[in-house]
């Protein structure tokens, strides 16, 4: 079996295939040093939890410990392949610094306590505040890494039991715009496309989606198409020279914050050239005339001027998109976390509406997710939506939910949309939210403008509960810390970005006294004595499968219908795509196949919003706009970004991810192969900017904005002139000395990119903006001949001649096995 260093070669061995062929199987495997296949006692079925691709895998168990992973050949998502984070990330489960006992704050310090003491403090404070102020005092901030069963239970406890409107997830930071864009165009959340569209597409357009790093196995699929006969043309919109940009037929590196202008320019060309499907527009779409008028004043020259891209290249992209037979588009953070996020992402949907390209093989939109289980926070009502994609401003939907939960309709707050995360932090800041229950996430590093976030979380008047697996930067500020079990230590399901539901079985016991998140939530509900309207316990289940059965009923008849699924059905074989019901027992590959949408006024999840102001449309307005449940082509005007570069802060700062890390590195930094591949923060700048300013690879720079700054070594790389990039993963738990409040602009100098980011969000999706801030860059000290600690295999590839910077590799410790079925493949 070939062994491949999957740090050096993140996408592994090529298995080329042609349009319409089946993607070949390649099974990837990585076992702990010294463990052989025959030593493995048991394989527990699961899927990856360190990105949103949903790669199906089996967890190898020996002697009560996880000893490795193996891709599942039968699964539709990955056909046996695994990415580097899947292969090595599981090692974090066994870290010696896992939280194993609850902690409570005593005299300013966190000390160990038993579960009863810790939970009584949490429930006790919650009850006090409910008596004193009511549900408006309590808020829940969850994650994109728990399981469906946990989100649904949390949503029920918070919305149906406590009755607070303040429930959101950190998925607000990664996937809120995907949901918002789908609601605007199709009336309801729900991914139209399928990963299998890669097998059929002749043009693939990637909008702000660095797929090679965020979904490595999906990129391997695209690479295999590119290496096979009749490869698709690739269009890439990104300010950085990502691996996708290097492989692209057309790369558009537009000025940060100008995505709407770019999309309007593309749509202008497509419409002006008549590359539109008049029949589809007539039968299935409303709003096209307004779109046509809107983009009429944004011809290619004007768009190219605003975006600062060559007009010829913009036209070439429009021609490829406009003449594609099978067009697949994907969108991610370059749009979602940038200025006018929803407005821009909706225009990608509009491209597919005007071209009539939805619901057929190769014709799909993938509004991607950032985090592994982000999809489930959206479905289950743990992220600022109601469960089952129900419409908070449709009384019939709320009544139905109240019936399923057996609670009074008024008990479920629906006077306005559930409070989004950024607003919750504002309410905590002004003191009207006084209890915050954080599960599985780390806002003290992941949120924008960290000095503000830290000062909000550290307030004496806030009671902060943190449920996590490590003592994160956020946990250190908590009043009570609850040690949780994680992936591999509990059972549940989760759903990836193309609606594929996977079961994840418990493989080993959690360490010490750590407990599954579901058990902790159930304990909390019991202590609050939450009841339904007949006086019976509100939460009717006591284990994951019971929660899943409850969810099936809640989702029945809604777009995200799970009623045809069961744990039994998900065991063995492949994951299944929802909707899965009696009529579709094997799930549904593509939505909207017949141009039918879940957008009728009585069905839709949302009536839509003004794409500039974010003001919701009233039911009456929506009924007038879209009485027959068609798709909505929604136009938007370009508005200049809020913080453009100026004389004092001449650079545009953008932040993002690297292939080897996830979120705030709580797990990936504890996997040695991943940590060594990207051990420390760096800053990227173009060769032209570096030369102009006299900086060289490895120089220590200060990147500062009006909020704060970061010190980082310089990688001279492939990035648009005038733009600097910082990876956002690096915080303080492994380098507590890295923040100095005395240094830097006026709010301190640190290691986390979010010291510098701005507090601003898209008014439609409420997703914070991490891609448009004005920054200045100065030299702290010259390099010592060492390159920046940035990977060379990814978007951070150095600009200089090959070999000038040693290539990233993992050595023998990172060798994984790959077995390619039958015909084999070429590296």
């Amino acid at each position: 079996m070939p062994r491949v260093d999957r740090i050096a070669e993140p996408w592994g061995t090529r298995t080329p295939y042609g349009a319409g062929d089946e993607w070949p199987v390649r099974v990837d495997r990585f076992l702990q040093e010294g463990v052989r296949e025959e030593d493995v006692e048991r394989w527990a079925q699961s899927a990856s939890i360190l990105h949103s691709n949903g790669d199906a895998l089996d967890i190898a168990v020996s002697d009560g410990r996880i000893v490795g992973v193996r891709g599942r050949a039968a699964d539709r998502v990955n056909r046996g392949r695994l990415g580097p984070k899947d292969l090595y990330g599981w090692q974090a489960n066994h870290s010696p610094d896992r939280l194993t006992r609850p902690l409570v704050r005593e005299n300013g310090r966190l000390v160990e306590a038993d579960w009863d003491t810790a939970m009584e403090r949490v429930a006790g404070r919650a009850k006090e505040l409910l008596d004193e102020q009511g549900p408006s005092a309590l808020a829940f901030y969850t994650t994109g890494q728990l399981f469906l069963e946990e989100y649904y239970t949390l949503g029920l406890i918070a919305h149906g039991g406590i009755g607070t409107n303040h429930v959101d997830g950190n998925t607000r930071l990664c996937t809120a715009t995907a949901a918002a864009a789908l609601k605007e165009s199709f009336g309801s959340d729900g991914q139209p496309g399928s990963y299998a569209d890669v097998d059929h597409a002749d043009v693939i357009a990637l909008y702000g989606h660095n797929v090679a790093e965020t979904q490595t196995v999906l990129w391997a699929r695209i690479l295999d198409r590119l290496a096979g006969p009749n490869p698709p043309a690739l269009i890439c919109v990104d300010p950085r020279e990502t691996p996708a940009a290097r492989a692209a037929t057309v790369h558009l590196a537009n000025r940060p914050g100008t995505n709407v202008a770019l999309m309007n320019g593309l749509l202008h060309e497509i419409i002006a050239n008549g590359w539109i499907d008049e029949d589809y527009l007539r039968d299935h779409v409303v709003g096209f005339e307004e779109l046509r008028e809107r983009v009429a004043d944004c011809p290619a020259e004007e768009a190219a001027r605003i975006c600062d891209v060559p007009v010829g290249r913009l036209r070439e992209a429009a021609r490829l998109i406009g003449t594609a037979d099978r067009l697949l588009s994907t969108v991610l953070q370059g749009f979602y976390q940038s200025h006018q996020a929803t407005a821009a992402s909706v225009q990608v949907n509009n491209v597919h509406l005007v071209r009539g390209m939805l619901g057929r093989p190769g014709c799909g939109v993938l509004q991607m997710n950032g985090q592994p289980t982000a999809q489930n926070t959206r479905e289950c009502g743990a992220d600022g939506d109601l469960p089952g994609f129900r419409n908070w401003s449709n009384d019939a939907h709320v009544a139905e939910l109240a019936r399923i939960w057996n609670v009074d309709q008024l008990a479920i707050p629906h006077y306005s949309p559930p409070t989004h995360a950024m607003q919750m932090f504002r309410y905590i800041e002004e003191g009207s939210i006084r209890f915050l229950y954080v599960s599985g996430t780390n806002p003290a590093v992941s949120m924008p403008e960290l000095h503000r976030i830290r000062s909000i979380l550290a307030q004496e008047r806030l009671f902060l509960v943190v449920q996590d697996i490590f003592l994160s930067e956020t946990a250190e500020l908590a009043d009570v810390v609850l040690p949780a079990a994680t992936w591999g230590e509990k059972t549940g399901t989760f759903t990836n970005a193309d609606r594929t539901v996977h079961l994840s079985e418990k493989a080993v016991d959690p360490p010490g006294e750590a407990r599954p998140d579901l058990d902790i939530f159930l304990d909390f509900a019991r202590r609050l004595d939450l009841r339904d309207k007949d006086g019976a316990p509100l939460v009717k289940w006591s284990d994951p499968e019971g929660a899943f059965e409850g969810w099936k009923e809640c989702s029945r008849g809604r777009p995200c219908d799970y009623s045809g699924l069961s744990y039994e059905k998900l065991r063995g074989g492949s994951g299944v795509q929802w909707p899965c019901d009696d009529a579709h027992p094997d799930g549904t590959e593509r939505l909207y196949a017949d141009g039918a949408f879940w957008s009728a006024p009585e069905v839709c999840e949302d009536y839509g919003r003004d794409l500039v102001t974010g003001a919701p449309l009233s039911p009456t307005e929506y009924k007038a706009l879209n009485p027959d449940g068609k798709a909505v082509a929604k136009a938007a005007e370009y508005i200049p970004p809020h913080e453009p570069p100026d004389d004092e802060f001449p650079f545009a700062l953008t932040t993002g991810r690297t292939l080897y890390h996830f979120h705030t590195r709580t797990k990936t930094a504890r996997a040695p192969q991943l940590q060594r591949a990207a051990p420390e923060v760096w800053v990227e700048m173009s060769a032209a900017d570096a030369e102009r300013l006299g900086f060289a690879e490895g120089d220590l720079l200060e990147v500062a904005t009006r909020r704060g700054g970061v010190q980082a070594r310089l990688r001279v790389g492939g990035i648009r002139d005038g733009v600097v990039f910082l990876p956002f993963h690096y915080g303080y738990w492994d380098r507590p000395d890295a923040y100095d409040p005395e240094k830097g602009p006026d709010k301190g100098m640190g290691r986390a990119a979010n010291e510098a980011t701005v507090t601003d969000w898209d008014p439609v999706s409420k997703q914070p903006l991490f891609k448009t801030a004005a920054a200045r860059v100065s030299l702290v000290e010259r390099g010592r001949g060492l390159p920046a600690p940035a990977p060379t295999t990814t978007a951070s590839r150095p600009a200089g001649p090959e070999g000038a910077v040693p290539a990233t590799s993992g050595g023998a410790e990172a060798e994984a096995e790959e077995s390619v079925a039958a015909s084999g493949g070429a590296r």
Partner: protein
């Protein structure tokens, strides 16, 4: 013909609305969505002021095409004050009061555009009617925004 009167009044009221939006953003700098969106929406007022000054010439008016400016010193003082007040509960109520005021002023501008459109139709002034058709929808969006922000902000401010 009193078209000039209507144009003149609209020019004044659009300037006033811009002023109200800017004041709102400065006073609520710590309410970030209010701050940023209010500033985005000022653009529409300024566009309208310019357009009205241009078309006003046809009716013998000499209106200032430059939108009425704001003193930047006063602006900064108000923003700083907003930051200091950001940790107190009162700004929640203050925000409601300011949004309510915005809603009323924007509604007034909207009515003025209706008057202008009616007059332009009666006088068969195509260019003036087109101007109203172009600008009035933006004013309505400003009104709806004020209303939506009020609705979203009211509950927490009033029950906590």
């Amino acid at each position: 013909m009193k078209l000039d009167l209507v144009i003149k009044e609209l020019h004044r009221s659009e300037n006033e609305l811009a002023h109200v939006l800017l004041r709102l953003s400065e006073r609520h700098k710590t309410d970030h969505e209010t701050y940023h969106v209010a500033r985005d929406l000022v653009r529409w007022c300024h566009d309208h002021v310019r357009e009205l000054a241009r078309i006003g010439e046809d009716y013998g008016l000499k209106l200032d095409a430059e939108p009425a400016g704001e003193s930047t010193v006063a602006e900064r003082v108000r923003e700083k004050a907003a930051e200091w007040l950001g940790r107190r509960k009162e700004p929640g109520l203050l925000l409601l009061a300011d949004l309510r005021h915005l809603y009323r002023v924007a509604s007034g501008v909207s009515l003025d555009w209706e008057l202008l459109a009616q007059a332009a139709q009666g006088a068969r002034r195509k260019e003036l009617l087109e101007l109203a058709e172009r600008c009035h929808p933006q004013t309505l969006r400003q009104v709806r925004w004020a209303n939506a922000r009020l609705k979203e902000s009211a509950t927490q401010a009033l029950v906590s």
